[in-house]
Symmetry: C2
Subunit: 300 residues, 2 copies
């Protein structure tokens, strides 16, 4: 069974195309890594790379990607709107299929140790790899940024998880962690009344006391002249797509409207598709390897 | 994009395990062919092999599989309950993803020509590769069997599609054709009354004037003490799974019962899953390459 993972490393360089290319090219040396997107933002002065592949290759590729970024990026000269503490600021790792979060977490630890041992960059673990609640959230770790890192690291509760409490002189520190795949999912309503989308969003999102793992906002889409409930599902295993759809459907009826269509922004893991498919046609025992394509390509 | 196809060749040997193994082993020489099942029946004296893989490898593998079967099987000595006209009796080819039926049909023609040119076995095309309506159905071609083939082939309307009208002296003729993937799908009802399952089956199947591409029968399942509508969906592109589910659901309500659960027998192509998934959550633009696993493994 292939162990498929995604990673979305962020580097603190969004302007110098040659530097960005040289760093991203490290991934191209791996046959089993696929680069899905490279997105640079000049005002943030930051580039976000999305890759997918077999876990061994992805972790190996991330090390060489980090090595090159540490060589080429000097945070003492870096200016940008987005907060950052490292040349490679954050490396999220996401299990897709054939691997659990716990198993992936072991890879995260090895990657962190290698980055410290070979590159002298201290490492923090965040998200589901965090050692305590305070470190789960990236903004807590990043607070004070690169410029405040020498002082911050001296505080005992901000010692890094791996390495001595001394930032790398040009590359700062790197934050690594396992998190769940995020599904960006929008539902368009059969009404142009944005207040309905806003009321639905408010009643279902976690921050307003609704469903855990759900972020939601209401928008008006000019090109389609309709209201949209725009959502992020932060954990599709605990909050399956069909439940989100059915709850929005129910709430829409309350306001005398209905769902016109829905849309996925970006990709979706096969497991998320199967969970909803099997809900609707009452297939209790549907596994990934019932799908021909997965059976062929997911096994080695 | 990988061109994924399935094939289910049938050979006229179901008893001699050494012979069967030697023939099936031809597929093991291909890294990109996966053998899903080898099912031998002694009374039929016949073996059905299920393989999946990239179209080029599958077609190449099928040739060497046929070559070996022609070498090792002598139909003059063959006895069994199942009708047959060839050592390799029939080779169905099924498009799974990344390839159309028309494109696959070109491969079928090349395979047929090679079997004639190099092995001297004449070839008939059936199913969606048939030259006329009469040849669409396998029983029409197979009528008279191996023993009657010398005479049958002399009739102008039973000349083979490829090769001279003379059967191979020990291997007869081979029938090849493209067909759609068949989904074996059962729905269990919340009642032990088999007459309800039978009435539903009769009202929805093609042979009784219901839905095209649907075969259906009613059964009683002793282990679950429930009635089952057991179905084959012969073309899931024209008759999607959700439509079958929803119609059985509707009919069950008519008899005061409901669907307890459904089950897939064997595998399902990703496209069939996506078609139903996108129906239920109104996702009009869902393509295979929105699914991460397909995007990674389906593209080369």
């Amino acid at each position: 069974m292939k162990k498929l993972v995604e990673s979305v490393p962020n580097i603190s360089e969004g302007r110098d195309k040659d530097v960005i290319e040289e760093i991203v090219n490290e991934f191209k040396k791996f046959k089993n890594i696929k680069i899905l997107e490279v997105s640079s933002d000049e005002s943030h002065n930051r580039t976000v790379v999305t890759i997918v592949g077999n876990v061994d290759d992805v972790v190996e590729g991330l090390f060489y990607f980090t090595k090159k970024a540490v060589e080429l990026i000097d945070l003492n000269k870096h200016k940008g709107e987005h907060p950052r503490i490292g040349a490679v600021d954050v490396i999220p790792l996401i299990p897709i299929s054939g691997i659990t979060k716990n198993e992936l977490n072991n890879y995260v630890k090895l990657l962190g140790e290698r980055i410290w041992n070979e590159l002298n960059v201290p490492v923090y673990f965040y998200a589901d790899s965090a050692a305590n609640e305070e470190r789960r959230k990236l903004p807590n770790i990043r607070k004070g940024e690169f410029e405040g890192l020498v002082e911050k690291m001296k505080e005992p509760n901000w010692h890094p998880d791996i390495g001595n409490p001394i930032p790398h002189s040009t590359a700062g520190a790197t934050v690594i962690g396992v998190r769940e795949f995020l599904i960006a999912y929008n539902i368009n309503l059969a009404t142009p009344d944005v207040s309905i989308a806003e009321k639905i969003a408010k009643s279902i999102r976690e921050s307003s006391g609704g469903l855990m793992y759900l972020q939601a906002r209401g928008f008006y889409l000019e090109d389609k002249n309709c209201a949209q409930v725009s959502m992020n599902i932060l954990n599709f295993k605990k909050l399956p797509l069909y439940r989100v759809y059915e709850i929005v459907k129910m709430e829409a009826e309350k306001y005398g409207t209905y769902i016109k269509e829905s849309e996925l922004v970006g990709l979706i893991p096969l497991k998320a598709v199967l969970d909803s498919f099997s809900f609707y046609i009452k297939l209790p025992e549907l596994n990934l390897d019932k799908v021909i394509e997965y059976k062929i390509w997911g096994e080695e």
